[in-house]
Assembly symmetry: C2
Homo-oligomer: 189 residues x 2
DNA sequence: ATGGTTTGTCTAGTTTTTTAAACGTGGTAC
DNA sequence: GTACCACGTTTAAAAAACTAGACAAACCAT
């Protein structure tokens, strides 16, 4: 959970094939600063770290993006997907089936859902507080997607991608069910 | 791109209903520190910022994850997907078609691909250096997935999810093409 | 009103980070 | 060999962040 700023910076720098001095010049700091940060002998100010990362280049968000979990199970058969249906069902007019890939999302940064929206299905207006993105592809049928003020109808093969903090809504006003795959990152934390 | 650390901290603190002093006590810093940070009159060291955020509580990753651009385009029709085919093609035996949702991945944290693996297609062993996760669903056909030592064959409706830093490989030794959707986070800068 | 409390801001002094320049090491050319 | 570079590390001085405490404004109860 707590992570080693120095080790992370060193790993990134070396992975990019940069020397401390090369990076220092590109970042607008001295090589000594980078040396000390990498040894965790000082804790850089956000201002300094930002400068250093601009020389890579990498955003602060990327730099602090969470560690890797141990992934034991990799492949999930259709019957192994976790049904998330109940939660959403209460807020919805039609039936929505959400089947999640991978049961335990703790330590995960990616949530993938196999979704079915029956005729009449409606998620209502949704909006996430934390930063995350959401995207997907329509496999079968049609769906109406509203993001902010924008309303779009997606058909087979159509895709979408947006920031989850914008208010959004999925609705199936058509007579055929709609099957899609969606991905969301990060699920939480 | 650059974000206002002070404004972000203030927004979070106020959203949690904490005063500068309350947060200061929980974080183990002084209220003055928080005041100065919020006014952007000094740039906190990572060590200090971590302490402050622990009092909220919030991870550094979450704190910096709010660097998000305005998402203009949301829906992408099949012909609007960006062809990434050429790159991979060189390393592959069979043909692999990768169609990316959303053209510009800068400032994006989610990459969604609509993929087709023709018979004989093979990505070869791949392995990403930075932390990220990869998952997907098979829409049509079959594909062989190798992650680490594990080899699995996925058919229609089967899904997968793993850490991209593990060496992995997609291969289609079958006679029918395989169509799938995959999601990856974060896409390499 | 009045006193007590809480709010955010500010200042002087201390601590920490950052700079600039030197140091030691390992490689390479001559 | 030895005269270079380029590398990461170290150090004293300069710069910036942090602390402790004071300050005024706003709020609430009496």
């Amino acid at each position: 959970m707590d992570f080693d700023v120095g080790a992370r910076l060193r790993a990134i720098r070396e992975e990019k094939g940069l020397s401390q001095r090369q990076l220092a010049i590109r970042a607008g700091v001295t090589n000594g600063t980078i040396s000390l940060i990498e040894q965790n002998r000082n804790s850089p100010s956000v201002a300094s770290l930002r400068k250093v990362l601009q020389g890579i280049p990498m955003s602060l968000a990327e730099f602090f993006a969470s560690e890797m979990p141990e992934t034991e199970k990799i492949v999930f058969r259709p019957h192994e997907l976790v049904e998330l249906t109940t939660e959403i069902q209460k807020r919805s007019k039609g039936r929505i089936f959400l089947r999640q890939v991978g049961g335990d999302l703790r330590n995960r940064t990616l949530q993938i859902l196999h979704e079915t929206y029956e005729p009449g299905a409606d998620t209502g207006r949704t909006m996430l507080q934390h930063a995350s993105e959401e995207g997907g592809l329509v496999i079968e049928g049609r769906i109406e997607l509203t993001v902010g003020d924008q309303i779009e109808v997606l058909g087979e093969g159509d895709t979408y991608l947006f920031d989850s903090r914008q208010p959004h809504r999925f609705r199936n006003p058509f007579s055929e069910p709609c099957i899609m795959v969606s991905a969301c990152t990060p699920p939480y934390l």
